[in-house]
Subunit: 152 residues, 2 copies
Amino acid sequence: MNSRNISPEAQNRIEEMLAKLKSSDFRITPQRYAVLRILAASEEHPSVAEIYESVRAEFPTTSLATVYKTVSLLKDIGEVLELGFHDGNNRYDGNRPFPHPHVICMQCRKIMDPELAGLDDLSAEMNRKTGYKILSHRLDFYGLCPDCQKLA
Amino acid sequence: MNSRNISPEAQNRIEEMLAKLKSSDFRITPQRYAVLRILAASEEHPSVAEIYESVRAEFPTTSLATVYKTVSLLKDIGEVLELGFHDGNNRYDGNRPFPHPHVICMQCRKIMDPELAGLDDLSAEMNRKTGYKILSHRLDFYGLCPDCQKLA
DNA sequence: GTTTTTTTGATAATGGTTATTAAAAAACAA
DNA sequence: TTGTTTTTTAATAACCATTATCAAAAAAAC
């Protein structure tokens, strides 16, 4: 899993995130670069603890606080989508930093990005019906993934 | 806001919740009854802190832990829907204890229940596309309510 | 090279929720 | 009624992911 195994798409996301950091006048430190690379490469919607683990593998002195701050920074500049859960197991998506649906396994916590169109239309409909100016949304489906169905 | 002002619908929900508690072999204590009544009557999706405040108005010795436990119990027996937020301001719906969309004001935190059909179809579609056995879902729209738009 | 600003790392503080436990209340039995 | 068992309450300690604090380190600016 070295740098030669990074897919072109992930490489692209890395460039985008670096560019956004630069244009927002934030420094690109080794720690930030490491966090950013993990977020860009992972399809698993990792938690801060998981990112921390991965970063520690190449930067053993990295602090947990730094990971929190970096993820939060990337979220603030719109390069990472936060999936907050009230049971305290927040997950992060560095590939699609815009609202989109998720399918979540209630057993193993695996999270997928399903294909689903038409949500922007729903937002517009909500706008009309409620008078709220809709700015964002979140749609999560909860269930059992194929693996956990087999085990059950 | 005394008991004579309870709407027929709310009265109905109270009866349903009481019946469910009874059939599940839980005792109907004054504290539980107070919590339950507030949840059944409120359209505001109250937080535990708010429920606690209201309960204290008629039962000044009620403990916060009791409110937490009662709300959790009602959730467990399927009579209350929990809207968990990772910023620690969970809200509860005792009127529609099943998945349904919400419209949330990002400024004043007001929560509404909009009309929106067809979500069960979406769940079925997710089932087909992902292989997950979908059991539940959550759809939140975030924006600014009419009042907060005026103030802005 | 010196100064200024940003970032890091270590750790303390925060705060909603849960766990604990003795006392009170309710249900049950004799 | 009285005693016994079970459930529930009230008070508070514990939990834990996240945030705040701040001195040291690193990078940028001068």
